[in-house]
């Protein structure tokens, strides 16, 4: 009898682990997890635009992080930013850019925004933001999902 009870006891816990069930079921996973921790981090931001830029502004949580006026003929614009507050997974920017000229009809301007987190120089993350054909102004938000720094 004791052997039978011991057998079931030994089988019970591994089986629970494999099926993912527990006595008190958690609610279904949701888009929003428990409030994640926040850290400050430094980034290098690189921008590549399909059309020559007149100016670019980058905001984060309502604060102006970056102002670039008349970058000239730089094909790539690179800047370093420090003290950006991020959750473990994501950072959101608001970008406003004005092009030097109105794109031709049918041409949509695009800016590739690449972020390289300090300490993770070998894992840059990029996102492409798009403007509208026939408009010289791009205004949009951009979400970047970041790899976590493993300790």
């Amino acid at each position: 009898m004791l052997i039978v009870v011991a057998f079931f006891a030994l089988a019970w816990f591994p089986l629970q682990h494999l099926t993912g069930k527990s006595a008190n079921a958690d609610p279904p996973q949701d888009q929003h997890q428990a409030a994640p921790s926040q850290v400050e981090a430094g980034f290098t931001i690189r921008m590549i635009s399909s059309h020559p830029l007149k100016n670019v502004y980058l905001d984060h949580l309502g604060k102006r992080l970056l102002t670039i006026k008349d970058p000239g003929n730089e094909a790539e614009i690179e800047r370093t930013l420090n003290g950006i507050i991020i959750t473990e997974q994501e950072v959101e920017f608001w970008i406003e850019a004005e092009l030097k000229n109105v794109p031709k009809s049918g041409e949509r301007p695009a800016i590739q925004l690449e972020m390289i987190r300090e300490g993770l120089e070998n894992t840059p993350i990029s996102v492409t933001i798009w403007g509208q054909s026939g408009e010289s102004r791009i205004e949009t938000n951009a979400m970047i999902f970041l790899p976590a720094i493993s300790n």
Binding site: D30, Q31, H32, A34, A35, P36, Q38, D59, L61, G62, I85, T87, E90, E92, F93, W94, E139, T140, N141, M143
Partner: protein, 319 residues
Amino acid sequence: MQGQMQQLAIAGSGPSTWKALILLIFGIGGFFANPVSSRAALEVATLHPMVTDLAREVGGSHVIVFPLMNPGEDIHNFRPSSADMVKARSADILLASGKGLELYLPRLKKTLSGSTRVIEAGNAVRSVKLSAKDALFACCPEHAAGSIDPHWWHSISGMKRAAAYVAREFGKIDPANKEAFAFNAKTWGKQLDKLETWAKREISKIPRSKRYLVTAHAAFGYFCRDFGFRSIPIAGPSEGNVSSKYLAIAIGEIRKNSVPVAFPEVNANPRALDSIIKTVGIRKGKALIADGSASSASTYKAFMEHNIKVIVSGLAVGS
């Protein structure tokens, strides 16, 4: 005699005669150039304040709008009066919000003559379904049973789609002004694009981890979908209907996510929300317009601007 005849001929071809002849020629020409321009404007009876604004923007000078519900009235308790029914029956178009908001609409349709066309503006908008849990916090049991959130006007892109749809429907009834309706919808659409860009810029001031909207009832599904929020409604149509179990879930969500503020609603009973605010110890924000009906915000732009400003002032960093 010949001289008299000549004098008569000269008199008959005087300045006033020429003027009359010219006017007659222009009048006939004008008629043939645009034979239906003399059609009376479409008469549109509307059943929701936001739909009233939509009708005016899209219809412009080619419609006369008769709002049957005025800003500030309770959309869930509104029922058309006898005078409203007369107006509806005599209108060319009855423009409803749709998505089951107007529970009286099926009965109202049966009383209409065949010449009144019913248009449900919300048909153009992709529906948000109420989850089983949120259904308990819906504005009324009938809406929960239908499981479609009827508050589609919280989506700016949805309103733009509705404008294009209503323009096409107006154009079917008044083909002579089809292009005018389409032009108006496109023009208003550009203004809505600017409004949406502004809204997104404002909302970007709120960290994504803080985008929780604690409100009285589940009216913000479309807003949450479009702007990346999670809705935590507190109370249903009356406090007695909501079980303590689900109130406990709502309190748990607020605490787990460190939500700092709850928003009361214009026209909603604040008691349940006040008790939650006191229990959890969070701030009480300014009142939101949940149902699109407030005397202080009779246009769509004013309504959305009000809500965005209230939400950002409650949740943005530093608030």
